[in-house]
Amino acid sequence: MQIYLPIAEMSVNIFLILGMGGLVGMLSGLFGVGGGFLMTPLLFFVGVPPAVAVGTEANQIVASSVSGVLAHWRRGNVDLRMGAVLTVGGFFGSTFGVALFSFLRELGQIELVISLSYVVFLGAVGGLMFYESAKAILKRRGAPAGRVTSSARGPGRHTWMHGLPFKMRFRKSKLYISALLPLAIGFVVGILAAIMGVGGGFVMVPAMIYLLGMPTQVVIGTSLFQIIFVTANTTFLQATINQTVDVVLALLLLMGGVIGAQIGARMGAKLRGEQLRVLLAMIVLGVCLKLAFDLVVTPSEPFSFGGFGE
């Protein structure tokens, strides 16, 4: 069954879009990431103009994050204070990101910047995650009884980050750190979110764990919480400035997505943390390699329409 997307101005198979939403939603529920980093390239692949894919994806992530955060909220796994600080940074970041997006679009370089951002961030995050969690799994298997296997990252570690001003106490995260740190992280992830059509969870989650040192159980809920506001801001700006938010496409994606996310969240409860992270790392690296390959390989058609989404 075909359906016509009014903003993308194209006809797509409704079940293909629902299926894509469901699959990505499942991964999103499983890992607590927005799933945009998979959905946006998938939408490009189906032929949705990149500008529409990015704008619409932001809208869909609002829904999947609302859906995802509620369960974490009830379990008390959202650090509101941390979320608020990240959101303030993310708000400025995503506003700047949408402006940058429009500018790059005029230059004809937005696709390149999107691809390069994906390659760099997915490569770095996926590689790091894979290394860390593979090491943890190997240690667990190979460790003789009685050996201490905890990682070197304890709460007592002191670095230059702890010397920054404007310290705030984040009770739920058991942290006393400078507010500048989450503000900066929120800002950078906000830019990425706007340009790449993602929630930014795949950067935010590792940043919270490895840079801020937040306890794992509040990381996903807090990340989802701030993603709602950052992607809502991106949706509003993309709709206003670029008119690239396709509500029909977003509704289809989120119908599949919210159901998938629930299934994913249930599956996630039965799997171990390290195994989950190895799995996510492999998906992230796979997408990264595919995009890097497309950038390097000689294109079969070197010409393209420069109107971009028109």
Binding site: I7, E9, L70, G108, T235, A239, F305
Partner: protein, 249 residues
């Protein structure tokens, strides 16, 4: 464009003269549908073109979509990666261009006539906004434009089919794919005899969005900030509703 208009004016005058002279119209044609509505379930459509001639001859149909300015970019190698480097802009490019005929056009027309009436993609008069580019560069970009549009099904490289019946009646299925641009189309029908156009007729065709799709489009473009807020509210409600539905089980 001016040459084309001159040709059409000439043709129009010619057909008027002939009509008055012979008391018969050499060519009449019409479409089964003058308005193609793009609805939510739109997957492309066929419009039947039918007509009659006053005797033997060859029929050529040219369908042109609304013109717009287009930019074509070319990728070049920058270090290890391929990136867009040069770009050329073209003015008033038809967004849709299909040709159909009852037999191979080269068999009954000269290159000059085809160029005059812009029959066939290779005869489209493409105008570059920067006219100072060398010819070979312009040709490269013009070819790319045609290739890209053909890949989208918006231009046809192989002519479509016109069926002739008893040298009097003709008909053709004009196909418009799902990604067809909206706007005012012009369907030109030419009657050829002895290598020249003896009569021509132009039938307008409107392709527009209707129903919910059109309303969403208008909403998004006419009240963009409100549309953005609306999109966010829908997303929040949908996310909340889905979670609530799953929680009860």
């Amino acid at each position: 464009m001016t040459v084309r208009i001159a040709a059409l004016t000439l043709l129009f005058g010619l057909s008027l003269f002939r009509t008055a002279d012979a008391q018969t119209v050499p060519l009449v044609a019409d479409l089964s549908n003058h308005l193609v509505a793009i609805t939510t379930g739109f997957t492309g459509t066929d419009v039947l073109l039918f007509g009659a001639t006053d005797g033997p001859g060859d029929v050529v149909i040219v369908v042109r979509g609304p013109s717009k300015d287009v930019t074509i970019r070319r990728k070049d190698r920058v270090g290890p990666i391929w990136a867009n480097s040069d770009a050329l802009a073209l003015r008033d490019v038809p967004s849709f261009y299909h040709v159909a005929s009852n037999r191979d056009i080269a068999e009954f027309t000269s290159e000059r006539v085809r160029a005059l009436y812009e029959i066939g993609v290779e005869n489209l008069k493409l105008k570059f906004i920067d006219p100072l580019q060398p010819d070979d560069v312009q040709k490269e970009y013009a070819d790319a434009l045609i290739r890209l549009n053909a890949d989208l099904g918006l231009y046809n490289l192989e002519n479509g089919k016109v069926s002739l019946l008893a040298n009097r009646l003709f008909r053709a299925q004009l196909h418009f794919p799902a990604n067809v641009p909206t706007g005012a189309y012009e369907v030109g029908i030419y009657l050829f005899r002895n290598g020249d156009v003896v009569s021509g007729e132009f039938v307008p065709l409107i392709i527009s969005k209707t129903g919910i799709g059109a309303e969403v489009y208008d909403f998004a473009h006419n009240s963009a900030p409100l549309y953005g807020i609306f999109a966010i509210i829908i997303a929040v409600l949908a996310g909340w509703a889905a979670e609530a539905a799953f929680r009860r089980r």
